[in-house]
Amino acid sequence: MINVAYEIAEEKIFCSGHHACPGCNAALAFRYIVNTLGKDTIAVVPPSCGAIISGPQPLSSMRIPVYQTTLEASAASAAGIKRALKTQGKDHVHVVAIAGDGGTYDIGFQSLSSAAERNEDIIYICLDNEGYMNTGAQKSSSTPYLAYTTSTPGGKPTAKKNVAEIMAAHRIPYMATATTGYLDDLANKVRKAKDIRGMRFIVILIPCLDGWGVADHEGAKISRLAVQTGVFPLYEVEYGTKYTLNYGSQGIPVAAYINRQKRYRHLSPEQIDEIQQVVDADWENFKAKFTT
């Protein structure tokens, strides 16, 4: 019976009443992250949309302790909590940092890389909406090539940093990419991470409705197109060597993805072609990692 697409076990940690935009996919991700990790969890959230989603003081949208840190320090802060918990004999409590791409790829990168090198026993999840969306859509090093942001109004001249591969190269126990359009895959990856010790990193592609220029109800659909066009494959890497592909390119032209986003509205057909070629070449190279 193909009635049911998703069967996801959830604890009741995430609350309604938070102030995310209607249709926000980051809020959706938060729901499954904390509802999967459960009540024995402490979360770390830096300045980001996540800070808004966490709830206006004195209320919290999560029934677990949430610590708001500075933008550079998510990984370091999370590590400090976990180390303290261990000394208190509370090693069963999970510590998860949920940061944006600004706080992961840019200003937070140093502390993230170091935490990975030390194999800190934390889960680090990047909600990647490809820009500093909370402050009004400025460019981050996660913004893709040619996308409009307020600080790159002519289109970003450089490519998106590949943080997934960088983190894989740190040889941490678990690295994964995920997105909201594949909800069970997302929840499964969080669940898998929950049971592993050592540094776990998940980067989740989050279409930002306002920042990307996408309709309120289309977030999940856009994220699927990112996967199906080969722009954002869903995969896992264990210890930097074992690669597993979950959902890869289905050969859908990248225009199908690009044309639904206002941040690419200014692109010429030649530029779209260029992007297609890059995506195709990247996919060819990337596929090679999965032949076993």
């Binding site: 009540k39 024995d40 969890t41 402490i42 770390v44 800070a51 966490s54 709830g55 206006p56 003081q57 004195p58 919290s60 999560m62 029934r63 677990i64 302790p65 949430v66 610590y67 708001q68 840190t69 500075t70 550079e72 320090a73 990984a75 370091a76 802060s77 999370a78 590590a79 400090g80 909590i81 180390r83 303290a84 918990l85 261990k86 000394t87 208190q88 409590v93 140093q110 502390s111 890389s113 170091s114 090198e117 030390r118």
Partner: protein
């Protein structure tokens, strides 16, 4: 109690050992590195049960201190100069979070240009970050002050930094009495804060507050800082009872009937002591006012001490453009409106680590006795 020949850094490390911090994020920088190295040794030897976190920067070290403390365990770190500068954002964050972190900062010149010389500007420039600040003149004092700092910090719930100067104290050997663990345990109760990050409690910390809440929170911090003077006096009294050693929050030396009191902080106090003895021997009525607790500035005590004193000469081994010497600055503010207060000479002596021997101090004292004071600090090499 053990008696050992130790430099200031190692003495401080012993103080930390006795305090049982559970998490110690570390990052090396000259000239504090031996503190953390010694702690690493203690840990490896099994005589210290601390989780050392080898962070990639001081900023991250402080970030981890804050969260570990907020989770409810005692923490420690050490830094100097550039490292302290890099931590600046997190220093504010730490006091805002009311985390009773204790940190040793070895006073060293700040770039640019580079230098490794004793100069207190690095920590003094952090006087507004909401941290309690102690300035120590000896290895023994550093060890003792680390424990006092934990006592006070955990009482008022503000972080505290303990300073001693590069090389003069950090690397110079002296005989140090190391108290027993029993004494330290009798002194410092275990740290068990009621507000902490704990799934059993469930409360969260740090999100955006409204203006009203922010205003009240700042007032809370202000009140905590004010309460720290009393707490520091109490801490010192208790320590004296247990070990026989007390320092007060300020110390006066041979100030009875003094025409001129020389005010200073840190290792300079030791040199001034010598100079005072020499001058007293020649019949010059001078005394020493050593300010140990710089933040909160013990305003009442200082006012009472200097009430009716004709002259004060401040020796500042520190300087900020536009501010001048920091102690000079604080004293002028503290003594404002004192009817019979002294005239103040603010001398910049030793900025950048230049040598200030007793003969120089006696010379400066002579000048101070003879000349009219100026409002702004004066460069005296």
């Amino acid at each position: 109690m053990t008696r050992m020949l130790l430099n200031g850094n190692h003495a401080a490390a012993h103080g930390v050992r006795l305090a049982h911090p559970k998490v110690v994020p570390v990052y090396p920088i000259t000239p504090q590195t031996p503190i953390l190295e010694k702690i690493s040794e203690f840990q490896l030897q099994g005589i210290m049960d601390a989780d050392l976190m080898t962070m990639e920067s001081e900023h991250s070290a402080m970030a981890a201190c804050i969260t570990a403390s907020l989770t409810g365990v005692r923490v420690f770190t050490a830094t100097a100069s550039q490292g302290l500068m890099l931590m600046h954002e997190m220093l504010h964050y730490a006091s805002g979070a009311q985390t009773p972190i204790v940190m040793c900062n070895v006073n060293r010149t700040i770039g640019s240009p580079w230098g490794f010389w004793p100069d207190q500007t690095d920590s003094l420039a952090q006087r507004d970050t909401g941290w309690i600040q102690y300035y120590c003149e000896s290895a023994q004092e550093s060890l003792d002050t680390v424990l006092q700092a934990y006592w006070v910090a955990e009482k008022v719930l503000l972080p505290a930094m303990v300073m001693h100067e590069a090389f003069y104290v950090s690397h110079a050997l002296e005989i140090v009495d190391i108290p027993s663990q029993e004494i330290a345990d009798a002194y410092l109760p275990p740290f068990n804060p009621p507000h902490r990050l704990d799934p059993e409690i469930g409360a969260s910390w740090g999100n955006v507050v409204d203006q009203d809440m922010f205003n009240r929170h700042r007032e809370t911090l202000g009140n905590s800082m004010e309460a720290a003077v009393e707490a520091a006096l109490e801490a010192d009294k208790l320590w004296k009872k247990l070990t026989g050693r007390g320092y007060g929050v300020i110390e006066t030396y041979r100030c009875e009937g003094a025409e001129l009191i020389i005010a200073t902080t840190g290792s300079m106090a030791g040199t001034v002591r010598e100079a005072v003895d020499q001058m007293r021997d020649h019949g010059v009525a001078v005394g020493l006012l050593k300010v140990k607790l710089f933040r909160p500035f013990p305003v009442d005590l200082v006012r009472r001490t200097l009430d009716g004193v004709p002259k004060v000469m401040v020796l500042d081994r520190n300087f900020a453009p536009g501010t001048g010497g920091f102690l000079h600055h604080e004293l002028k503010a503290a003594l404002y409106g004192l009817q019979n207060g002294p005239v103040i000479h603010g001398y910049l002596a030793g900025v950048g680590g230049t040598n200030v021997p007793p003969v120089k101090i006696t010379g400066l004292a002579q000048e101070a006795l003879e000349e009219e004071p100026t409002v702004l600090s004066v460069w005296k090499g």
